[in-house]
Symmetry: C2
DNA sequence: CGCTGCTATTCTGCGGTACTATATACCAGT
DNA sequence: ACTGGTATATAGTACCGCAGAATAGCAGCG
């Protein structure tokens, strides 16, 4: 999918929160999971800026662990604030999603508002 | 709904395209339709920047008509390029929407990817 | 040992988008 | 004259995802 970057704004962070909420994980793995999901063009740098933001806003706890496959990994887990943020994300998504689909349905029915 | 602004990026333009596609309309009316849809915090300035962008990218045709209720209105209609852009928007929306809902379903099922 | 390749984090600057706030214009009602 | 609704226009700000590169650690190969 080409050029979806603008539509990912505000959405990608929510995805990262959701992925972290499923269990302790680190930046590189998050990137790969996003790619597996279908967002194939997501690069490490993008995820990094998001995790940095989560750190800055105190939404995650951090633990550094050594790896046999390279440099040490920074593992993230959601804290209480992060959980709240995640729930807020899903509420916002529900809201916007329903509104857009409403608009789309009106489209298919060919009616005005 | 509070602070959904970041998640509206890239989406709002698509909504405006869709609204215009239903028939000739102008900035102020578009704003009101978006509010009626549920995006209550959208203001004229925001819509204006979008319509300006549509103009700049040659996605709309413009016709100025007098109004008895105030200054003249600038009516917009989609041209061929605008129609294409609109279709591309819905495709992107379908894509992202399905991916996010997939993530959400995994969430509710409590499974990993 | 030097090279390549994979894993993994970090840093910086950029472009695009919505929002804020304000100015301007026109008309109707009081 | 003044307020309020309609309507377009503009400058400035904040935020987010992305590109691109640097750095680090380990394994395998010739």
């Amino acid at each position: 999918m080409e050029n979806i970057t603008e539509m990912l704004k505000g959405v990608l962070e929510g995805c990262v929160l959701e992925i972290i909420s499923r269990g302790e994980t680190y930046g590189y793995e998050i990137t790969q999971q996003l790619r597996a999901l279908g967002f194939t063009d997501v690069v490490e740098g993008t995820v990094y800026t998001i995790t940095m933001r989560l750190e800055k806003n105190n939404l995650v706890d951090i633990e550094k662990k050594p790896s046999t496959l390279g440099p040490p990994r920074k593992f993230y887990t959601l804290n209480a604030a992060g959980q709240e943020k995640l729930e807020a994300f899903w509420e916002k998504w529900e809201f916007i999603s329903s509104k857009i689909n409403e608009l789309k349905q009106i489209k298919s029915k060919g009616e005005g508002i």
